[in-house]
Amino acid sequence: MATSTGVVDGALIYILAMSVLLLFLIVFFMIYFAVRYRASRNPVPSELPESPLIEAIWVIVPTLLVTTMFIYGLTGFRFLRSAPANSLVVKVYARQWSWLFEYDNGKKSADLIVPLGKNVRCELISADVIHGFYVPAFRIQQDAVPGLATYAWFNATTMGSYYILCSQYCGRRHSAMIAKLIVVPPDQFEAWRQGKKIEFTGASYANMPAGERLLYERGCVSCHSLEDNKMMGPPFKGLFGSQVVVTTAGVQRTVVADSAYIHKSIVDPGADIVSGFPNTMPPSKDVVSEDEIGRIISYLKGLK
């Protein structure tokens, strides 16, 4: 849970209470009239003279009621939309169909690890289409729009692991675009951020070899299977060293999938388009470092 949870819930519960009351009154009168004035009991209807007073009440009371709801919602919104200046800034990269979190010191992670009781400001960046950064437990949601800087912030008050979901429909594997938000003690967080190896409970890709873990963390497996089934992109199993038919600048040719080829496919995927697959992969220079590409290649070498 976070400080925002209570803020949003307050407004929700107020509106819920008012709505239940109104619904009860409406249904009560509807049923009461239908029974009390049924034709067999009240054969002669009596006209009700129009009363400006009653009509004025019907305009004014709902107006006042909804005004209170507006103000309650507005106060909460102000809270949600003003990140304190001293927040820890995390860059959130959303892409089809995975999340990547980058801390101010350049540390990257597939799970959002945050310290307990600290303000965290998530700056949302989308690489392709619109995604929705949604943490239900914290009651925060904000779209990541390509070409537009947006953010959400929170201050976690309970330790534990929560879901981060994509709430804006983004294509085939939209419902699988899930990451974890893990709230940990501030000292552990700091140690982890500085590069100490800590596996937090609930983390998504614990105990994997570095190369494989990168493929998960950076979202490669959303489109490339580690088995041999065909997804959005070519499967990885048995890829290294195999013959690949590609189209380069409109010309079809056959190449061997060696280290150079894989490197090029990561940094400039539009250059050689593997036949039978659409040219949809975004260039991934900003997401993986040279060092990381090396680890991925050495993992793929072993994936027979």
Binding site: F33, P45, S46, P62, V145, L148
Partner: protein, 542 residues
Amino acid sequence: MAERETHESDYVPYFLHKGKYPGALGWLLATDHKRIGLLYLACIATFFSVAVIIGVIMRINMLPGHVILTAQQYNAAFTLHGIIMVFLVVIPAVPTIFGNFFLPILIGGRDMIFPRLNLFTWYLFVLGAVLALVSVFFGGGAVDTGWTFYVPFSLKTTVNVPLAVFAVFILGMSSILTGINIVTTVHQLRAPGMGFFRMPLSVWGFYATAWVQILATPIIGITMLLVVMERLFGIGVFDPAKGGDPLLYQHLFWIYSHPAVYIMILPAMGVISDIFPVFSRKNIYGYKMIAFSSLAIASVGSLVWGHHMYVSGQSDTAGIIFSLLTFLVAVPSAIKVFNWLATMYKGSIQVEPPFLYALSFIFLFSIGGLTGLFLGALSPNVQLHNTYFVVAHFHYVIFGGMGFGLAAAVHYWFPKMTGKMYNKPLSVVAWLVVFVGFNIFYFPMFILGWEGMPRRYYDYLPQFATLHQVASIGSFIMVAGLVLVAGNLLRGLVAGARAPANPWGGATLEWTLPSPPGQEDFEEIPVITHGPYEFDKKESGA
């Protein structure tokens, strides 16, 4: 009416009338408003069935352990369900079926003002429907964008977006022309003495709706054309890579698509306003307030589209403005509900099938409207946006509101349209099954959404399984009820008892005609001397 019986010999029901063309051509080239209304009815009923079947398939898929679709198929399924329901069923249904059939009669005219244009709108409608259908099978396959076609996803996906959005453009043209026809008809063809404040409230509903159709639909037209142009020529006005702003697409889309909700609900509210006085045997309470609240909903409802965008990246200031305006539109809706209830007060109430639907309309629409307050409020919306709460909310408003309003209209006007009566006890049973199924189906979705289940998810976290199961079971009950409703009506059509001219004791003009009406509706254009709900005066009028 007494006068009518003396002319019994030259009276021929409109569907037996021998016109210029024989047989099927007599229907396909019909310019008679009643026949065109029925042409629309046939199409819309078919599309509705298709969309319901797609919906059931999705619900089966959401049963724990019953995956029958791939992710791509599921995405296409909810997209098609949305496109068909929104553009082919809910937006056109009440204005084109009942607007066409009854609007001219209710104002004492013989037809719509532009009968050939009227038929043309039906052909455009069919063309749009065919294009939408064709887009499923050609050029990359069924659209998977959701019915909102949000850019840049709709620019990037490999499926046949251009044809589908072009279909929406065509359907928009059809809707605009229908709106023009309705406004002009109301202005030109009212019978002598039929002042604006003697029009039945259903006519006010059609009239207010028609204005929204005219003023808002061109925006979706141009937006859809822009998506086509983007796909075909890569112009870039919506593509962020070329400087375009995806949020402007959302603005344009919702400038139409939010008012479209009022295109859906206003005519249904109008019909409900006609039904309440008839079954309470009492003049409607606050006629002018209801009439003006229709116009208020139509106009204020066009200013609130930004409440779909609180978390979209829209500025916070704009969010606050739109939230305030959104709450204002709740007021005229509340006024209508209060006026309907006041109409029942001290009435002489007969709970016939149409009234049962009208009463359940109030219940379901109230839930839909009140949950709209959650979504209109800024901070709760941040939690509930794009979750099942929204899905439940709009199904309560659209299906519970417009759908039950439509069902009320069908059960109210069925005897007039067909000259036959359906089985009343069976229709009450069918209503009960639909009503119960509906609530088991959609109510759990409020809770799912509150707990954080996003919409348009092929898959879900394990904690949501139970509620999904309940919702799916509810959907099966509801569909069973719908089959019962349809079966009862069809049976009534074929083998029902003959309906009298005025089975409900209504005081509006359609009940002065025989059931079903003759080709010309009125042999002589009536002179109107009193309001539409003055039951004690109905003998002296018309």
